[in-house]
């Protein structure tokens, strides 16, 4: 599948963008020229260039260092919230599709109710209720993604459970639990993971949006959304304060989407020419 991805330049560019962000996040302690929270009082609002490659903010903090450290928060929240959503939503969808009947109907209508909220609004409600911190943010974003993953996992289960190998498995004495998690799960995993990469982009955006309106991780922790908001106060004097984190968000979201699209094309049998 890796070779297939590389045959598509868009996917390759997306993968490179993602890798750059991941590398930046992982290597932040070594790459960042300054401590992200160190305030250089005499160097406030320094424009990009010179000692501060991307300039400094109103407290004299190095923007490049903050972006590198902020990548950790963005990625950590995106990965953990989507993982939680895949595990919970995927399980709900699989069980719902496999059991079928009234139970399926009730579960899926509940999911439809969840789906009817735009993810930002739903995240907003949860964070506003629970209070802004890292765990609550992960919970809020995960909640917005549970319903889509339930739907994504359920659809293939509906057709898979009618396949002969499921009945053959039952005839060999396998329990429903075993059928579901040993035999069906590997068959839907690629679809779910592909949607996971696409939804990571959404999670990054939601996190940035919540941070932007002040419901994200509390300052002074560097987050991209938070940096944009802080920069907004000086948007006319020091536009770079909002532009750099904005570009960072843009590149990560773009990269994740490009990888997700590429993976989806690679795993979609209709596009692959197989039946």
């Amino acid at each position: 599948m890796f070779g297939v991805c590389l045959a598509y330049p868009a996917t390759t560019i997306g993968a490179v963008l993602c890798l750059i962000v991941v590398a930046g996040a992982l290597l932040a302690p070594w790459l960042a020229p300054f401590d992200p929270n160190d305030q250089h009082i005499i160097d406030r609002l320094v424009p990009p260039g010179g000692d501060y490659l991307l300039g400094t903010d109103a407290y004299g903090r190095d923007v490049l260092s903050r972006i590198l450290w902020g990548a950790r928060i963005s990625l950590a929240i995106a990965v953990s919230s989507i993982t939680v959503a895949i595990v919970i939503g995927g399980t709900i969808g699989m069980v719902s599709g496999y059991v079928g009947g009234q139970i399926d109907l009730i579960i899926m209508q509940t999911m439809d109710v969840l789906l009817s909220f735009p993810s930002l609004i739903l995240g907003l409600i949860v964070v506003a209720l629970l209070g802004p911190d890292l765990i609550n943010l992960v919970a809020a974003i995960a909640l917005t993604a549970i319903a889509p993953f339930a739907r994504i996992a359920r659809a293939p289960v509906l057709s898979l459970k009618e396949r002969a190998f499921i009945e053959a498995g039952r005839a060999l004495g396998f329990s429903h639990l075993r059928i579901l998690f040993v035999h069906i799960l590997p068959n839907i995993l690629s679809e779910v993971l592909v949607m996971g990469s696409l939804w990571m982009a959404t999670a990054v955006r939601t996190e940035a949006s919540l941070s932007f309106i002040g419901l994200g991780v509390k300052p002074p922790t560097a987050t991209w959304g938070g940096m944009m908001r802080e920069g907004f106060e000086n948007i006319l004097d020091a536009p770079w304060l909002s532009i750099w984190p904005g570009i960072a968000i843009l590149l990560l979201v773009l990269g994740l989407n490009m990888v997700g699209d590429g993976l989806r094309d690679a795993t979609d049998p209709r596009l692959r020419g197989e039946t």
Partner: protein, 331 residues
């Protein structure tokens, strides 16, 4: 006859159609002795597969149910047994192979893992032990170079090879009874002959009983010891394979044989059975074949029972059984 390994008595399996339950299998009884092959013959929809699924406890619920009768496997009554107990028996004491070898294997698991899985579940073997045994079983069903093919996926196997893998999976735990639901229907004739030969060979080696479901009378002649002919959910005739082939008594059985094209004659019309099978929700109370039967007469409107023609040969037809096996002499 030795104690039967499987006996089915007055089995009635129903399906719900439009709010009412209708029997797809009605009053089906048979016994299967160790090492014996009973062929269950009949056209599509006559209840052959439902009979096998009933034995396995795999009748789809909630739209289907076993409404009556007894199924006894090695002295244990299966009807009403809780699901976990049935799961322990399936694959271990009774196994089933299906018609579609192309879709009966999990596309994302290796062949070896699939054959090994049942042994890990039922015999508590470790993965390593189970895989060692799986390799031996694959060798037994004559998969060429099994060690190399062990880690391949189903799409790398041909239909015949997949059916061999299915047989290997079914036989892995050495079941007492094998239910084979048209296992060769999807295969071409030469592969079919190989698989039938393999099944006969394995049956002999392991001494298991086989319920062989088919609509192919040629296959029946090749593999069966006894034959039960099903029509519209009932067994209409049952007997040793030689008796059924030489002296078919029930008009339906006779019509089936008449419908086989003959190679030894010049141009001939194919003999078809006029009319169609009555639908589940419009089953007549009398003989279910009467509306299509050339011998239909007074008395056919009464419910028919299986009556003996001669020893071990029974038919559900008052006309055939009234003359007590003299039918073929008058013919």
């Amino acid at each position: 006859m030795a104690d039967p390994v499987l006996s089915v008595e007055h089995l009635r399996t129903e399906f719900r159609i439009g709010g009412a339950w209708h029997p797809a299998v009605d009053d089906v009884s048979f016994v299967l002795a160790p090492g014996e092959t009973l062929a269950l013959v009949g056209e599509s929809g006559c209840g052959k597969s439902v009979t096998a699924l009933s034995v396995m406890g795999l009748v789809p619920s909630p739209q289907g149910r076993i409404a009556g009768g007894r199924i006894v496997l090695e002295g244990r009554a299966l009807v009403g047994l809780p699901e976990p107990a049935l799961e322990r028996l399936r694959g271990a004491r009774m196994a089933m192979i299906f018609q579609e070898p192309m879709t009966s294997l999990n596309p994302v698991m290796t062949i070896g893992a699939q054959v090994a899985e049942a042994m890990m579940v039922h015999q508590g073997l470790s993965r390593r032990q189970a895989e060692a045994k799986a390799l031996a079983v694959l060798d037994e069903v004559k998969i060429p170079s099994p060690a190399r093919r062990f880690h391949e996926y189903p799409h790398q196997f041909s239909g015949g090879m997949r059916q061999r893998v299915m047989i290997a999976m079914a036989l892995a735990c050495e079941p007492a009874v094998l239910l084979a639901d048209e296992p060769t229907t999807a295969l071409d004739v030469t592969i079919q002959a190989q698989v039938l030969g393999l099944l006969a060979d394995l049956k002999q080696r392991h001494g298991m009983a086989v319920l062989f479901i088919t609509h192919n009378l040629g296959v029946v002649a090749q593999i069966a010891d006894r034959v039960a002919v099903m029509y519209a959910g009932q067994i209409v005739e049952e007997g040793p394979v030689t008796a059924i082939f030489s002296r078919p008594a029930h008009p339906y059985t006779r019509a089936l044989f008449a419908a086989i094209p003959r190679m030894d004659r010049d141009a001939q019309d194919l003999a078809a059975i006029a009319g169609r099978v009555p639908s589940l929700d419009a089953m007549p109370t009398g003989c279910r074949f009467a509306s299509r039967c050339p011998q239909a007469q007074v008395g056919c409107e009464r419910p028919q029972v299986l009556a003996p023609l001669d020893e071990a040969h029974v038919a559900r037809c008052h006309v055939a059984t009234a003359v007590r096996g003299n039918w073929h002499q008058a013919d």
